[in-house]
Structure formats: structure tokens, C-alpha cells
């Protein structure tokens, strides 16, 4: 019997006179190999995490190899505890009784001679118990290992400096091009439900150039030399696209041509909405020609040819 249990027992005997205990001596009512006084038994029991833990303790206390359990002896001790707990009317978890039954069964099987064939079939009745004990001890050790790891709040502490005044930053939403295309698909579906005619789109190259031309015309006080709209460096394709863009702008009455007299320089200006200059280029740019023009572009430029009609 050790000191702390002794102290505990002394503390407890003050209000519990059921069993007299002499310090350092095993109590007569208890099995001789139990070194725990009954007063301490409840605390003792609470220190175990269950029947496997208690069994492990009993085995370790005898310095026994798990593989070499003297089942009879361990069973006797284990039963001793169970009896004692019941005698003291301690609340006993069902798992302890289950283990008691298992131990009793193993013990009886060890004692009874069995036909060899059956023995081979079922193996050592202790094997399952040993496996469980090993598995449990492994986890018990692992839990102790985790408990020893340096951890926050006990061995390590989080640190923080006080924050500066935060600068409120406004971020623009991110958009994936696919989202834009999905949105377009949705709007096209809707448009086709509501409208008889197909929504018509010009080739994108022309559309883009239309915007550029319009912006250029408007940036130059709405008056630009026709020739200045073309970039010879873009080559034939570029010139055609620009030309188509100007034609389309004229057709949509967004720009108009101005020529002072025959063979004079042609100028392009933002449409005024009022036709007041005498020689104005023909703005009656028909739909048929439109398709021809686009066909021309398609024939020349692969990049544009896949545009939907």
C-alpha cells in the first residue's frame, strides 16, 4: 500500500466507519492481492477507463507479458474487484460485467480438455483478449503521447500585436469571361423567345472597328479626313474591316460623309441628324450589299469566318 492512497484512506475513514483499515496492511475482508482499501476503491475505479484498462493494470502490476497471461489468476483478481464493487454497491458499468463473463468463459475453456480438431479451429481462446488488450494499450500510450505534445494555452501561446487603423479597401468584383458568355447565352435564349426575328450581329472585327472609328471621329471635333481612318500598316484585311465599319456606321446613320465638291477630299463626321450639306454620300446602303461585304470579309479572314449569322 502506498502513501497517497493511505492518506486518502485516512481522510475518508473520518466519515466512513464501515471498515477499519490499518495503514500499510491489507484489509482482511478483501482478497489478499488487492492493495486498495475499499474507501479508495471508488476513486480507484474511476481512474480506469474501463475493463480493458483495469485488466492491463492487473497484468502490468504482476509484471506479466500480455502474451503470457495467467488467465486463471487474472480472472480471479478481476472477479475479486467485481465482487467487492458489488458488495459496496458501487455503480458498476455493464462493460465490467461483460468482461467478467468473457474471462470466465476463457478460463473454463482453458480448464476443460477439448478435442484437438476443435482447438485448432478456434485457436487460443486468449487470442482475442490479447489482441484487444494490445490495441487498447497502443491507444492508451498514444493518448499519453498527445498529452505530452507541446500545446497551445499550456506550453505555447498565441501572440498578436495591436492592429493599425485599417485602410478600407474597395475591391472590384472579379469576373470570369465564361460568366459573361453564359450571360450572353441566357440573354439570347430569352431574346429568341420574345422576338420573331433573330438577333443580328455583325462580325466582331467590324463591330470593334465601328467603335474605334466612332470614337476617333468624335474625338476630333466630329470631323476626320476619310483617309486618316485607315491604317495602311494593318494591311488589306485591316483596311477592309475599317471600310466595312465605316459603311456600317453610315448605314446606321452614326456618321456621314462630307465632300465639298467632286474629287475634293472626303471627310467623315458624326451624324448631325440633319442632311444639310449638298453632296452627301449615298447613305442608302442596302442589306444585300451588306451580306456581300461580310461574305468578302469572311472569305479573306479566317479569324472572322466563324462569326454567327
Amino acid at each position: 500500500m502506498n502513501e497517497s492512497v493511505g492518506q486518502l484512506q485516512q481522510a475518508r475513514t473520518a466519515d466512513s466507519a464501515t471498515i477499519a483499515v490499518v495503514r500499510g496492511e491489507a484489509v482482511t475482508q478483501l482478497p489478499t492481492d488487492l492493495y486498495i482499501p475499499p474507501e479508495a476503491l471508488e476513486v480507484f475505479l474511476e481512474t480506469f477507463e474501463g475493463p480493458l484498462d483495469l485488466l492491463l493494470y492487473l497484468i502490468r502490476r504482476q509484471n506479466l507479458d500480455i502474451l503470457n497471461i495467467k488467465v486463471a489468476e487474472i480472472t480471479r483478481q478481476y472477479m475479486g474487484y467485481i465482487d467487492l464493487m458489488q458488495a459496496l454497491q458501487l455503480e458498476l458499468a455493464g462493460e465490467y460485467l461483460l468482461m467478467a463473463a468473457m474471462l470466465a468463459e476463457i478460463k473454463s475453456r482453458m480448464l476443460l480438455p477439448r478435442p484437438e480438431s476443435l482447438e485448432e479451429e478456434e485457436g487460443d481462446p486468449r487470442a482475442e483478449l490479447i489482441r484487444r488488450l494490445q490495441e487498447y494499450e497502443q491507444i492508451k500510450t498514444a493518448a499519453e503521447g498527445i498529452d505530452e505534445l507541446p500545446r497551445m494555452e499550456r506550453d505555447l501561446f498565441d501572440v498578436a500585436a495591436s492592429k493599425p487603423d485599417l485602410v478600407k479597401q474597395h475591391a472590384d468584383p472579379e469576373v470570369d469571361l465564361k460568366e459573361v458568355l453564359t450571360a450572353l447565352a441566357a440573354v439570347l435564349r430569352r431574346a429568341e423567345m420574345f422576338q420573331k426575328h433573330e438577333v443580328k450581329f455583325e462580325p466582331l472585327s467590324v463591330r470593334e472597328r465601328m467603335g474605334d472609328v466612332l470614337a476617333l471621329v468624335n474625338s476630333q471635333d466630329g470631323f476626320v479626313d476619310f483617309g486618316d481612318l485607315f491604317q495602311p500598316s494593318e494591311g488589306r484585311m485591316g483596311v477592309i474591316v475599317t471600310f466595312l465599319a465605316i459603311m456600317e456606321l453610315v448605314r446606321e446613320a452614326l456618321v456621314e460623309f462630307v465632300q465639298a465638291e467632286a474629287f475634293a477630299p472626303i471627310h467623315v463626321r458624326g451624324a448631325s441628324g440633319v442632311v444639310d450639306h449638298a453632296p452627301v454620300f449615298n447613305t442608302n446602303y442596302g442589306g444585300e450589299a451588306d451580306s456581300d461585304m461580310e461574305a468578302a470579309v469572311d472569305a479573306d479572314a479566317d479569324a472572322d469566318s466563324d462569326e454567327d449569322r
Binding site: 498565441d158 501572440v159 500585436a161 495591436s162 492592429k163 493599425p164 487603423d165 485599417l166 485602410v167 478600407k168 479597401q169 475591391a171 472590384d172 468584383p173 472579379e174 469576373v175 470570369d176 469571361l177 465564361k178 460568366e179 459573361v180 458568355l181 453564359t182 450571360a183 450572353l184 447565352a185 441566357a186 440573354v187 439570347l188 435564349r189 430569352r190 431574346a191 429568341e192 438577333v199 450581329f201 455583325e202 462580325p203 466582331l204 472585327s205 463591330r207 470593334e208 465601328m210 467603335g211 474605334d212 466612332l214 470614337a215 471621329v217 468624335n218 446606321e252 446613320a253 452614326l254 456618321v255 458624326g270 451624324a271 448631325s272 441628324g273 479569324a303 466563324d306 462569326e307 454567327d308
Partner: protein, 220 residues
């Protein structure tokens, strides 16, 4: 206890504490005999001074405030540090994305043109947002009553979506295929999925699935 250790303890305590600590608070951290009994306060003050000098060129500085000493992040770094708390940017509405798509594919267009195709009115707000983002711009006016603005896309728009020119946008045929998927070959269809929000935490190095080796030496 040597000065370096006193400084280490004070630095650690100031950073671990939830609020500022006074010289008295700090002095109490030391056990009997760890500071000179007569000079304890002076020793702590000297350590604070040394730590203050030491932090002169660092990201945090040791400051004395009304209720004691504390480490604080340098105000001039707040521009960067603030980004830790940046709110996720809001997402654009479907109406805005549709409007943007129509400007891109049908430019130059007026708001009225867009409304006609979408079948619903386009709020001035949407146009303003797109202009402020510098994705669309006014390229002119249509000479009809009211002289509505004509919109086109900008260079910024192309840059944002990583396009050299509008012609790099998928042709409308592909967009239409999104409506009638049956018409395209399965492996030709472009997969269009709205990106789910990315998890900014994701670090490829710290995956959740880890192999457990029992007995193996821990990897770095």
C-alpha cells in the same frame, strides 16, 4: 538572470497579452531572485528601452500608451496589413454581365438597343458601373431624338479578359450552342461553368489528406 533573457520574457509577454502591460505587471512575471531586488523596476525599464530600439526597423513597434506598453503594427504598413481583412468583393449581377456581353458583341450600342434584346430595362447604374470600371465607354451618340450615347468596349476590357482583340471572343455560334447543347458534338462544346468562389485558404502544401505512418520518421 541576464538582460537578454529578461528582454525575451518581456517581449513574449507583451505579445501574448491581450492588452497593454505596465512596468509593474511585467515585473511581477519574474520569480524571486530573478531580478535584482532593489533594481527590478529599473531592469524592466531598461529591457523595454532595449526592445524599443530593437524594433526600430521592424514591422511592429513597441509603444507606450496610456495603460502601459504594447506592440503595435506600424501605421505605415496598414496599407498591406489591411488587406488581411479585405472583404470579398461583391459579385456582379446577371443583368450587368448580360449588358456587358451585349456591348461587346453588338457595339456600338445604345442602352435602348440593349433593352430591346434583353427585353427588360437596363438601369443607369449598370452602365455607370461598367463605365467606372473602364470596361465600356461612350463612343458617340446616335442622332435620333434624345441623342442616346453609343457604347463600345475599351482596351481595359480586352486586357482584363486577356484578349488581344474582340475577334478572340468565341463566335456567336458557340454561344448559341450553349442554348442548344444537342446540336454540338459533346467534346466540342465549351464548358461554361460559373466559377465557384475560390477558397483563399487553399494551400497545396497542406492538404487535408495525410498519410499516417506508424513508426516512420516524420517528414518535413
Amino acid at each position: 538572470m541576464d538582460e537578454a533573457q529578461i528582454q525575451r520574457i518581456i517581449e513574449a509577454a507583451l505579445l501574448a497579452s491581450d492588452g497593454p502591460l505596465t512596468v509593474a505587471n511585467l515585473t511581477k512575471l519574474f520569480g524571486p531572485g530573478e531580478l535584482d531586488e532593489e533594481n527590478a523596476t529599473r531592469q524592466v525599464r531598461e529591457a523595454l528601452k532595449a526592445l524599443q530600439e530593437d524594433s526600430a526597423d521592424r514591422g511592429v513597434e513597441l509603444k507606450r500608451v496610456a495603460s502601459g506598453y504594447r506592440y503595435q503594427v506600424r501605421q505605415e504598413l496598414s496599407e498591406w496589413v489591411s488587406r488581411l481583412w479585405d472583404e470579398k468583393p461583391p459579385r456582379y449581377t446577371r443583368a450587368l454581365l448580360e449588358t456587358l456581353a451585349l456591348v461587346a458583341y453588338k457595339q456600338p450600342v445604345t442602352r435602348g438597343d440593349i433593352e430591346q434584346v434583353r427585353g427588360v430595362s437596363v438601369s443607369q447604374n449598370i452602365m455607370r458601373t461598367l463605365v467606372e470600371r473602364d470596361w465600356i465607354r461612350v463612343v458617340g451618340q446616335r442622332e435620333v431624338p434624345g441623342r442616346p450615347s453609343l457604347y463600345g468596349t475599351t482596351k481595359t476590357f480586352l486586357d482584363y479578359f486577356n484578349l488581344q482583340a474582340l475577334t478572340e471572343l468565341p463566335p456567336l455560334a458557340e454561344i448559341r450552342a450553349l442554348i442548344e447543347p444537342a446540336l454540338v458534338e459533346p467534346d466540342e462544346s465549351i464548358t461554361v461553368a460559373v466559377q465557384t468562389t475560390d477558397d483563399p485558404e487553399t494551400d497545396p502544401e497542406s492538404a487535408d489528406v495525410v498519410q499516417l505512418h506508424s513508426g516512420a520518421s516524420p517528414s518535413n
